[in-house]
Amino acid sequence: MARQIYQAIVDGILGGGVYALMAVGLTLIFGVLDIINIAQGILVVVGAYLSYALSVHLHVDLFLGLLVTVPAMFVIGVVIHLAFIRPLRGRERTSMSLLACYAVAIIAEGVLYWIFGPGYVTLKASYINSSVRVFGFFLPYIYLYGFALAVALVVLLYGLLYRTKFGRSVRATMQDQTAARLIGINVNRVAALTFGIGVAVTAAGGMVYGATSGGFNPNSGYDLISRLLAIIILGGLGSIGGALAAAVFMITLESVVDIWSPNWAILVFYAALVIVLTFRPVGLFGRQAVRAQ
């Protein structure tokens, strides 16, 4: 039993890295644009299907394929922002953008169903079904590679945000949009690029998700978005570090509960969310009531 739990914890930490990556994209978009991209879940699935199409039809390696899928998802993100998010104005802007993202998700789901059908598909590669034994734990290669990729991308994002001029303008916009505009930051450009980056990470997240989840179909987006939302709320909306910590914590928790009851493991997510928010409405790492109305 104890062995099983240790194994579950190791799996959870490795799997949590991937969720951390997807959640960072979501929380970044929230921080800059003050909207929640409900479509993030289905966009992860789109990323997974892009990898699938590349590997099945063109026989491109999954990790190599990211060189194509990440830019593709970036473009999709920028287009969604320009076409559906930026035109929204007025008092109900935030709620309207939420509904717009929801509508985009429905369209994306329909398109995926149409192209790929409702059947479950899996990503295939030599390193998906083999594993290495470390200290008595079986670690599938894909988990290791996926975790390494997630860590690398998160570090890259951190570098981008904290070491570059663009990152400074993003952080300034997150703090105070009006002030950022006043000191000459092109807030619209920052918003579009941030949305693109936030969506681009779903390509990598989707590939690893598709390889580790044991099968996905267009309907998997709901499952993903519900987890991601729980993670970013728990971590405190707009807090990147919080999203990382909450992702690893929640996926580990789920993975441990999964030993006893796979059906109810996902419920742990929401139960944890409800319990935490009852005592700490700003989430685990949120500092203030996120942006006064």
Partner: protein
Amino acid sequence: MSELKGAAPPGLRSEAAGPAAPRERPRVSGKLLRAAGIAMVAAALAVYPLVITNGLATTIAVDGVIFISAAAAWNIFSGYSGYISLGHAVFFGSGAYTVAIGARDWHLTGDAVFALLPLAAVVGAVIAVPCGLVALRVRRHTFVVITIALFFIFQLMAFNLSFTAGSIGIIAPILNWAPATYNDPFYYIALAIAAGTTALAWLIRGSRFGLQLRAIRDDEDRARGLGVRAMRVKLSAFVISAFITALVGGLWFYFIGEALPQFAFDPIFDLSVALMAFLGGLGTVAGPVLGALIIEPAQQYLTTTITNDYLSEILLGALFLVVILLLPRGVIPTGSELISKWTARRENRR
């Protein structure tokens, strides 16, 4: 859009009128026009199944009228208070399952099942209390996400609990009504509920309670400072809204004839009711009615006439996007603004 006078403090009044959009007060002619419009819509709805007997058309009509209540109920909470709930399917599904489980376990058949509708409503209201107590502690985005989370919890429970029969679902008892007029009783029950809900929405909007809700929408902290008991007011609206949603959920189950987790707890329901209210005009009385009458028939038409399910889903999403992008403020506010502009111009000319 009349701002109804009530016993609210002056500071609150000016806020409730909206800072950016000064709303013109409708003139007498506007009032007459509105009364005539309401009478016409009501009369058209009342005689609809007598004039049009096509089975498909009446089926769509029943759906449309059910959604009038659902959208109006959503609007009573979310439209007035500004707390956008994307989890109202929780109450819709709970209502459906209450009737389904009740009919199955108590071996009710035929018309007797309709006696379960009040029970469905009460169950919805009871479920709303703990949900509201948790969700209403947080605001804005966090609130939206909590309602989505609640929605997924309930869908998951419907899939996994033993008494909901999981993904097999529960079949409704068979009604031995004449096929030609089968839809009519459903239609009139739904219409009665819709009329009641709309009247309630109108009463609430003009009442002290409604003003408190709208004060919360505009500035919750200030409303609280002025003595509005925010939690109590929000929770009351949430429970009222859940009560009606569960009531029509129960009716919907009997009409559809089957309760399945993915359809009773349907994410598209969450989105639809919100969009109906937005399309018509958030926080208005007539808005959700109009929105439901436009969106639900369109949606039903798409899903029944286009045999490709996926294409109809894509078109549905596109329809939603068009609504959001072209009519962000809703038909009713945009329309009344146009009318008052037009009458003002005409008066200037004189």
